[in-house]
Assembly symmetry: D3
Homo-oligomer: 294 residues x 6
C-alpha cells in the first residue's frame, strides 16, 4: 500500500468491505511512484467488445517479495483459507515466490490453499514469457488444494494439453472434465478444480454456467441467461462464492452453485467488485427468480 | 399532506402532473413527523431482482379517517370516477373506512367506483393480519364497479379460491377467468375485473399481457416482449390506462389495450410514475412499432 | 458556421474529429439568428419508440447557395471523394443547387461522388413538397457515382417504383435488388447502390444487415443482432464505413462489411456520431466477437 | 404554447409552479416551428461575466396579437393584478398591442396594472429600433399603475432624461429619485416606481439594495452583500416580491423589503426562476440571518 | 443498527472510516421500522440559510437502553476515551441513562469522559421539554471530564446563567470564560470546557475561532475567515480534533488548535463528516496557508 | 504520443483546441507503458489547500530526445514563436537537450524563443537534483528571448540571488524588478522577463497582478480580486496571453494585460486549460467588468 491519496482511497474501500488488511507500506515520491496499479476498463456494449488495459508501471505490489510479511503473526489467530491468483503471480520475479512462501505458511497453519490461474499473457510477456509462466505457476500449484481456471488457463498456465475437441459448444463441459485427469496426475494433492463457463452472445448477453471436480466427483451448475453490465470480475465472483460455500460447510454441489450465483450477480454491477448480499446469492443459487421483492 | 420541505416537493409533483389535490394538512414537528412515506426501490438488473421497502412510520396518510374530507364540496362540480387501492386500505384502521366513505359519496354523485386490490401482506401484518385484510377489503369491494387485481390479489385479498391449476404458463388466462364467477357471485354489483399478466424472464425482460372481464365479456390484450427499466408502477399504469379508456368512451377491448399499452410504457421509465403521452399510449395500443419517429 | 457560442461548440467538435472544415461565416444577432440547427432526440426504450424533431428556423446552412465556396481552392490539393445527402438538399431552394455545383467541381477534380438519399418528408414539406423533392434529387443524382438509400428513399426520393412484394421479411434483399435495374436505367452513370437493412424488434434490439450493388455485382453483409443504445446515425455510419472501405482500396465485399460494422457500432454509442476506432470496425467486419480484450 | 415536447416540458413547469395558464395553442411542424424561445445562459464566475443569448426565431409568443385572448372569460372570476414587461413588448409589432389590450381589460376588471420596463436593445433592434421602443413603451405605460425599471430602463425605454450625475456610487439612490418627477409628469397616473440597485464586485459578489417611490413617498431597502450563483432573474424576483407584498396588504416599506429579499434569494439558485418559500423571503426581509435552521 | 439496506449502507460507512462498532441489532419489518434516522440538510447559500430537519420516527437508536451493551467486554482491551453528546441524550427516556451507564463503565476502565452538549430544543420537546433536558444533562455531566458546548448550550442545556453582555461581538470570548466559574462550581470534577466561536457573515462566509478552559488555563485559537460549503458538522469536527490532540499528548494549546483546524476543514466538505487527513489538520493548525501543494 | 485509448483521448483534445501536433509515436504494451502522464489534482477549497501529484512513471514524453523531430520540416512553413518550459525540461536527461535543439532550430527559422521556468523541485529530485537543474536550465536560457518565472523560479531554477527583502507584501514588485539586472547580466540576450504576482487569501480568493520587464522598460498589470475555481494553469494562461499579445503586435503594456487577463480567466474554469475566448480576454484586459452580457 502506497502512502498517497490514491492509496488512501483504496484503503478506505478495503476497510469498507470489511477486509482486515496486512500492508507493506511504500512512500510515493509524488512523481514516479511506487504506484497503485490503474486498470482502465471500457464495459463495451452489444457488438462492441469490452476493453481492459493497465498502467502497472512501477507498481508497488510488484515489489513485494518473500520476507515482507510476518506470517507467524498473520496466522497467529488461526487461518482457514489462503487464496491467491495468477495476476499477482505475473507481476514480477518476486511475487510468485511470495505466493509460495505464503502458501507454505498457510499450510503450516492448517489452512486450505486455493489459486485462481487467471492466465494473462500480456503480463507474463513483460518480464518472463510463457515458459517462465508455466514454471512459476507449476511451482505454485504444488501447494494448492483448490484450483480455479478455465481450459485456456489450464493449457497456457499449467501446460496441460487439452483434448482436441472441435465444433463443441462453449458450454460443453466434457473438454474441461477431460483435462482434470492430467491436472491431478501432475499435481496429485489437488482436491478440487473449478471454472465458469460462458457463451458470449453479445457484450450484454451471456449464457452462464460453472463446473467443478471436487474429491473425484463432478458437479455442474445450472445454465442461465445473463444481462451483463460489466463482465469484468465474474470469474473472481465465482471463486469467492465457491470458497464461501466450502468454508461455510455447504455440500460441494451447493458451493458450486453459490459461486455460480455470485459470479452471475457480480456481472450486474458496474466495476469488478461485488455489491451482492449473501441473501441475494443464496436466493439465486436456490433457483431464485427475478421477481420483485417487497 | 405535511407542511415541510418533503411535502412541498410532493405537492410540486402533484401540480406538475395536472392533478387537482384535496389535502388534509398536517404540521411536521421537525423530528418525528407526521411524515410523507418514503419508498426505497432498487430496480435490480438481469438475475438480480428488484427490491422495494418503506419507511412508513408515523405516516400522515395513515392518520386520514372518515370525516376528514368534505365530500359534498369535492363532488360539487360533478364526479365521473373514483379510484382507490389496497395499499392505502392497508395503512391503518381508518383508511379502509375512509375509502368506503369516499366510495359511497362518489356513488351518490353518480361516479363509477374502481379499486386496485394490490394486496401487500407486509402492510397488513403491521396492524391487522390477513383476516382483517379480507374483512376490510370485502367491505370495500361491496361498493366497487371495476376491480383490478391478479390471481394472488383475488385469493389473498378477496378470499376467493383459485382453481387448482398446475404447470400452466404464467400468461395462461384460464385461471384468471375461472375465478371471475366466484368474485361476481360474492359481489354481484362488480361489472368489470381486470389484471395484467406477466412472465418475468429476467428483471429487464418480461412478456406482458392483460385480460379483463367486462359486463360478461372476456377481453385479452396482445402479448409483447418488454425491455423493462423499472417494473414498479406497471400495474398502476395498466389501471390508469384502462380507466382512461373507459372514461373516454372507448370500446372495452380498446380500453384494455390502452391499459396494457400504458403499463408497458411505464416500465420503460425509471420510477413508478408515467412520462408517456396519450399519443404514445394510443400508438402502442394500435399496434405501434418501435420505429423511429422523425 | 455562425459566430456565437453554439457555433464555437460545433467547430470545436469538428476540429476534435479531425475534419478540415470550409466554413462560410454568419454573424448571429443574439436573438433571431442565423442559427445552427438544433436536433432534439429521445432515444426511446423497448416498446417506446425514439423521437426526433428539429428547430431549424433561420438555419445558417439553409442560406448556403451556389457561389458561396471557392471550389477551385478547396480542390486544389486534390480530391478523392465528395459526399452529400438528402437532408442538406431539403433545407432550402439553394442547398440542392449548391450540392450540384459541388458535385460538378468534384467531378472536375477527379473525385468519386456519393449521395445518401435520406428522404425526409417533413423537411421537403416546409417549402417544396414531394414533387420538388423528386425533381431536385433527380438532378442531383445525375452527378452521382455511389448512391445510398433504402427502398423508401428510392421510391419517395427518386420516384422509382418498387415491386409489389407483400409479406416479405424486412431483411429480405430481393425487393431492394429488384429496384436497382430501374435506378440504373434512369441514371446509367450510377456505379453503386447500397443500403442497410434492419428489422426492429424493439427500440433496443434490431436485426442488422446491409446490401450493395457495385459495378453489376450484388453483395450482402451478414445479419447480426444489435443491442442498440441510440439508433440515430446508424445509416450515416454505414455510408461512412462503406466510403472508407472503397477509398482504402478494399474489395467491394469488404467495403460493404466495413460499412455494416461501423453502422452497427455507431448504434452502441449515445448520439448520432461515431466513437468507434478503425480497429474496432475492422474487428467486427472480420467476424469479431464481443469477447473481452485484455 | 406550442404542441410539441418542449412545449409539454414548459407546461409541466408552469403547472408545477401553481400558475393557471391561458394558452393560445400553436402546432409545431417538426422543423421550423413555431418554437418556444430558447435562452442560453452562462452564469460566469468571478472576473468572467455571465453571458445570455437567445434563439427566438419564429417564436410562438411573438405571434400573439390583440384578439387572441378572451379577456372577459379570463377576468370573469375577478382580477386583482396584471403584470407584463418589456421583453414581451419587444418581441414583435403585435405583442405591445396585446399588452395594451390586456391592461385595458384588467383596468375594467378593477386590477392594479404593473410593467417591468426591462429594456433590451438587442430585441428592439430586430424589428423596430429605439424610436419604436420608446413609442410602444410610452403607450403601454399610459395604462400602468406600478412601474419597475432602473435608470437605464427609464432613460432608454421611457425616454426620460436622467440628471447628469458623475462619480456617484452605483448604490446611490439620488439619481433614481431625481428621475421620478419627470416620469410622473409624463405619466401622472403612475402611483409607484421601483427598482433594484446593485454594485457588481464580481460575478459572484454583488452589493444589493432596492428603492421605490410609492404614492409620493420614498422607500429604501437595506443594502446587503450577496453571494450570487446566477444573477439572471434577480430583477424579476424583486418585482414578484414587491407585487406579492402589495397584494398581501403589506405596508409599502415592507413590500419593498419583500421584493428586495426575494430578488436576493433568487440569485442563490441556478436558473432565473425562484425556489424560495414565502417563509424564507419573509425571514430575510425581517433581517433574517444566514444562521442554520434546525 | 437495523438489518436492512439502509443499515448496511451505514455499516459500510462506519467500516470505511475505520471505526470498530458495537451494535445492538434490530430487525426491520419492511414498513414501520425500527429505522435508522434520516437527516435532511439543505446547505443553503449566501443569504439563504441552511436548513436541517429529521425523520427520527421509530428510530432504532432511541430504543437503546441500559443493559444493552456488555461494557466489560467492550472495555476489556483497555479504554482511553469515552465521548457522547446531547443529541443522543435527547432521543428518548432511555438514551440518557445509557450514556450515564457507559460513562461509569468508562471511568472504571480508566478512560477520560467527554460530552458535547449540542442542545437541540426540538428533540427534547418531543418527549421531555427543557426541564427534563436540564435534569438529564445535569446527571450526565456529573460524570464528565471534558465538556464541549457554546454559551447557548451551557445556558439551555446546563441551566447556567450567562452574564448579561450586550453589544458584544460574536467572537468575543469574555462571555464564554465568564460562565466557566459557574459550570465548575456546579460540576467541580470538570477539567476542561471548550467551544467554537463563529460569526456568520453569510452561509458561505464565517469568521471562525475556538476557546477552551483546561485545568484552570484559558486558550484561544486564531480567528480565520472560512469559505464554507456545508457548516453542519463543524462543531463535531472541533470536538474530534480536540480529543485527538489530547489523546495524542499534545499541549492543551495545540489540542485546541487541532480542534479548531479540523472543524474549519470539515466545513469545506459537503455533508457533516470529515475527509480531512491528519496531515491537513496539522498543517492548518500550524498556520498552514492555502498555497498549492505540488 | 502513445498509441492507446488514453493517447487517443489526448490527441482528440489537441485537435479540438486547434493545435497542429508533431508527435513521435510510441506503442503501449498494455501493462507498463510507455504512458501518457497522469496529473491528479484536488482543487481544494477555502482553508483547504489544493493538492497536485503525478504518475509520470515510464512517461513517453521523458523518452523524447534530440533527433526525434525533423525540425527542418516543422519550420518549413515559417515559425514565429517557440515556447517550452521547466516541467518538460525536468522530465529526463534528454528532454532538456531536446529543448535546446528545438530552440536553436527555431532561432535559425527566425522565431522568438520563450521559456517558462516553472521550477518543480520534486521532478528534478527524481534524477538530477537542484545542481543539475541549474546547469540544464542555464544552458536552455542561453537561447531564450522571453523568460517567464517568479522570484522562486529565478532563484532556484536560474541560481539568481534575490535581494534580502523582508516584510514585503506578496504583490510588491520591487523584489522582482531587483532581480532582473542579475538575470540580464548573466543572459544578456534576454529581452523580456515576466511573471504573475498573487496573494492567496484562501484557496478561492486571490489578489492577482503581473509584471514584466520588456526591452528595458517595466510594466505592471492592474491588481484584481479573483474568485478562483482551480488555480492550476493560471501561470500558463499568463504566458499564453502574453505571447499572444506580442505575436499580435500589441504594445508591451497591452500584452502584459492580455496575459494577466487570460491567466485570471483561466482560474475560473475547472482544470488547467483555457475555455476563455479572445473576446473575453480582451474585454477583461481593457477593464471589463463582470456585468452581464445580453
Amino acid at each position: 500500500m502506497v502512502n498517497y491519496p490514491i492509496g488512501d482511497l483504496i484503503a478506505e474501500r478495503v476497510r469498507a468491505m470489511g477486509v482486515r488488511p496486512f500492508y507493506k507500506k511504500f512512500d510515493h515520491d509524488g512523481v514516479q511512484g511506487p504506484n497503485m496499479a490503474t486498470v482502465y476498463s471500457d464495459q463495451g456494449l452489444g457488438v462492441r467488445a469490452p476493453v481492459v488495459f493497465y498502467n502497472r508501471c512501477n507498481e508497488a505490489a510488484a515489489r513485494l517479495r518473500p520476507g515482507d510479511f510476518d506470517w507467524k503473526a498473520i496466522t497467529a489467530g488461526g487461518l482457514r483459507w489462503f487464496h491467491s491468483g495468477g495476476i499477482f503471480a505475473a507481476l514480477s520475479e518476486t511475487t510468485g515466490e511470495l505466493i509460495i512462501e505464503g502458501m507454505k505458511a498457510a499450510k503450516r497453519a492448517g489452512a486450505v490453499v486455493s489459486f485462481d490461474l487467471n492466465f494473462r499473457e500480456k503480463l507474463w510477456n513483460v518480464w518472463g514469457g510463457q515458459q517462465t509462466a508455466v514454471s512459476v505457476i507449476g511451482r505454485i500449484v504444488e501447494n494448492v488444494d483448490v484450483l480455479v481456471g478455465n481450459e485456456e488457463d489450464l493449457q497456457k498456465g499449467l501446460g496441460v494439453k487439452g483434448p482436441e475437441v472441435s465444433g463443441k459448444s462453449k458450454l460443453d463441459t466434457s473438454a474441461f472434465f477431460g483435462m482434470i485427469a492430467e491436472v491431478v496426475a501432475k499435481h496429485p494433492q489437488v482436491k478440487a478444480v473449478a471454472t465458469t463457463l460462458r457463451e458470449v452472445h453479445s457484450t450484454n448477453r451471456h449464457s452462464w454456467s460453472a463446473v467443478a471436480w471436487i474429491d473425484g466427483q463432478s458437479y455442474t451448475a445450472p445454465t442461465c441467461e445473463l444481462d451483463v453490465v460489466d463482465r469484468v470480475g465474474g470469474g473472481d465472483g465465482f471463486a469467492a462464492g465457491l470458497i464461501y460455500g466450502l468454508l461455510a460447510g455447504e455440500a460441494p454441489e451447493q458451493a458450486v452453485r453459490l459461486g455460480w450465483a455470485h459470479g452471475a450477480l457480480l456481472t450486474t454491477f458496474p466495476g469488478d467488485t461485488t455489491m451482492a448480499s449473501v441473501d441475494q446469492v443464496r436466493a439465486l443459487a436456490q433457483g431464485g427468480s427475478a421477481r420483485i421483492q417487497r
